[in-house]
């Protein structure tokens, strides 16, 4: 197939050009999004399309904030994401640590039960979960949205793998000094695995922030919408107004992009966490 002798410099150059062109195509949709959101209605639907707006306007953004409570959606999303992340990271660390470093009766069966829930996609048990929320009157409430995301087996598994590398001698030394088991967990175990905890946090943020299926099922009134659901609903209300949609979508992705620029390395490692471990 590739019988041609490869001369290094020209082919490096070509590879660079091709890869950067491809990358440009990958981010073109975002440029097009922002550009559309800054156009006047008559310029949005002009043919041929203009890559950059002739006249810049913020009218679409004003309209978005008048028509929907983006701030509210944003706060709901932030709360959902932060509480989930804190809970999942904490429970995963604690449970992972205990399974890695302690011996107690029924350890293996308990670990198996937790890990087996990791194999089952959320979509397979969301209906009984919904019925549970009906029973405890948590449909269309923050509580109902939050409950399923207090624990996550993937995190437990990941943290156990990490804690296994923690030498028992450290723990025993602390015990001789008279530290309680809780103290050892908080003061020795947790601080030694900051980067693993950081990676796990980013992984959890990435699955919660963009979650659509559970909010779609469990919430029905606008005051409980998360950003994703709010945007879906918005699209159903104003069916053809691309200026509005693109402005709303831009508002929704700006915080994410800023976050990504700041924590690039950690995010790329964190999101693919499940793949590397």
């Amino acid at each position: 197939m590739a019988k041609t002798k490869i001369r290094y410099n020209p082919s490096d150059l070509i590879s660079n050009i091709l890869l950067y062109l491809f990358a440009a195509a990958m981010i073109f949709p975002f440029i097009w999004l922002v550009s559309t959101s800054l156009k006047l209605p008559q310029h949005i639907l002009s043919w041929p399309p203009q890559i950059f707006p002739k006249v810049f306007t913020l009218a679409n953004y004003q309209a978005v904030f008048q028509k929907v409570d983006m701030i509210r959606y944003f706060i709901n999303t932030l709360r959902f994401t932060m509480v989930s992340t804190m809970s999942i990271v904490f429970t995963s660390a604690l449970v992972g640590y205990i399974f890695a470093k302690y011996r107690f009766p029924f350890k293996e069966p308990m670990f198996l039960i937790i890990i087996s829930t990791m194999m089952i996609p959320f979509q397979c048990y969301m209906i009984p979960l919904y019925m549970m929320m009906v029973k405890i009157h948590a449909v269309d409430t923050y509580l109902g949205l939050q409950l399923p995301y207090l624990v996550q087996a993937m995190g437990t598994f990941f943290m156990r793998q990490n804690f296994e590398s923690l030498p028992d001698e450290y723990l025993d030394a602390a015990r001789i000094e008279g530290a309680s088991e809780w103290r050892i967990f908080f003061n020795i175990a947790l601080p030694s695995f900051r980067s693993a905890l950081g990676g796990l946090s980013i992984f959890v943020v990435s699955i919660i922030w963009g979650n659509l299926i559970w909010p779609l099922i469990i919430t029905s009134s606008e005051k409980n919408f998360v950003l994703e659901l709010g945007l879906v609903n918005f699209q159903q209300l104003y069916t053809v107004d691309y200026g509005l949609f693109t402005a709303a979508a831009t508002v929704a992705i700006i915080p994410v992009i800023i976050f990504f620029i700041v924590f690039r390395r950690q995010i790329m490692e964190g999101i693919t966490l499940s793949g590397i471990k």
């Binding site: 491809f22 990358a23 107690f104 996609p121 048990y125 009984p128 624990v151 879906v232």
Partner: protein, 302 residues
């Protein structure tokens, strides 16, 4: 009895482990184990989320789905088509781009990777809004690009014969960066001596890839394969948002299994059937996971 269990264990350790573990284990039982078991049980009933009364109907839900259910058949075929095409395309692209990045001297690789990774970071709904706008049959930029090549307008999403493929294209764009990072980590994990040795032996780039890099990457490739397939089989958001609003894909044409489960349970109130469908989906995913386990174990032997 208790003394028997406690034999050989450090009492203080057991006490700590149980105090810390049991509340969280309880959460797993309530929020995961119970719904999972309940989903199996309800798949044998005619349960509906709007009425509290139901009775057991045996295998009826399964038989109905497997024998003469148009929606289920469409969803299953769509899901398989979607999962297969997306997996193949995403993995091939991710692999070749990552390989090119690794083999050639590339300027600011970090920046380049970040550009490819951006669609992974941005959540599904805003991304879908952009793509729907680009796919617009009248004013969409895709049709404008096509006009350079003298190709007439295409109803990317609205045209029944294109809608599934348009969604696949969108998902490839969305997932590509994710698998690129996985492959990148795999490539960086190959000890440099192997590649140096092959080069000294005079291996061409093609031979180096085929006989050194590919076999060493086997576990990562198999892993990504099953990962992408499972992601594909459980796809929901990407398909759902593409069917919302005007100029969108026709829902009944691009239905996938999870989409159908959602519709059956929450729009048509046939939760029994939906649970049966969920169990079938689970069996498919389980099958894929088992295959993954086997392949990866084989792959590790090189």
């Amino acid at each position: 009895m208790w003394v028997f269990f406690m034999k050989g264990y450090n009492k203080a350790h057991v006490k700590f482990a149980y105090t810390a573990l049991l509340p969280i284990f309880g959460l797993y039982l309530i929020l995961r184990c119970w719904p999972i078991l309940e989903s199996f049980r309800l798949s044998f009933t005619n349960y509906s989320i709007i009425s509290p009364n139901f009775s057991f109907v045996g295998l009826q839900n399964y038989l109905k789905l497997l024998s003469n259910d148009q929606d289920f058949r469409i969803s299953l075929i769509n899901t398989m088509l979607f999962a297969t095409l997306t997996t193949i395309a995403v993995l091939l692209l991710a692999f070749s781009i990552t390989l090119a990045m690794d083999r050639r001297k590339i300027k600011s690789i970090g920046l380049l990777q970040s550009l490819f990774f951006l669609p992974v970071v941005v959540s599904v709904v805003p991304s879908a809004i952009i793509w729907k706008w680009m796919y617009d049959p009248q004013y969409g930029i895709f049709n404008y690009f096509l006009s350079f090549f003298g190709i007439g307008t295409i109803g990317w999403l609205v045209d029944r014969s294109y809608s599934m493929y348009s969604i696949i294209l969108f998902v490839i764009w969305k997932w590509l960066g994710y698998f690129m990072v996985i492959f990148w980590v795999g490539l960086k994990g190959i000890p440099g001596v192997y590649i140096e040795a092959a080069k000294i032996d005079g291996a061409s780039n093609w031979k180096l890839t085929r006989f050194v890099i590919l076999p060493l990457l086997k576990p990562i490739i198999f892993f990504s394969l099953v990962m992408a397939t499972i992601k594909g089989f459980t796809i929901f958001s990407e398909v759902y948002v593409m069917t919302v609003g005007s100029q969108a894909a026709p829902g009944n044409m691009v239905k996938t299994l999870t989409y159908d489960i959602y519709e059956r349970a929450f729009l048509y109130f046939r939760a029994g059937q939906a649970n049966a469908e969920a169990v079938i989906l689970f069996l498919i995913v389980l099958g894929l996971t088992v295959i993954q386990g086997k392949l990866v174990r084989k792959g590790e032997l090189y």
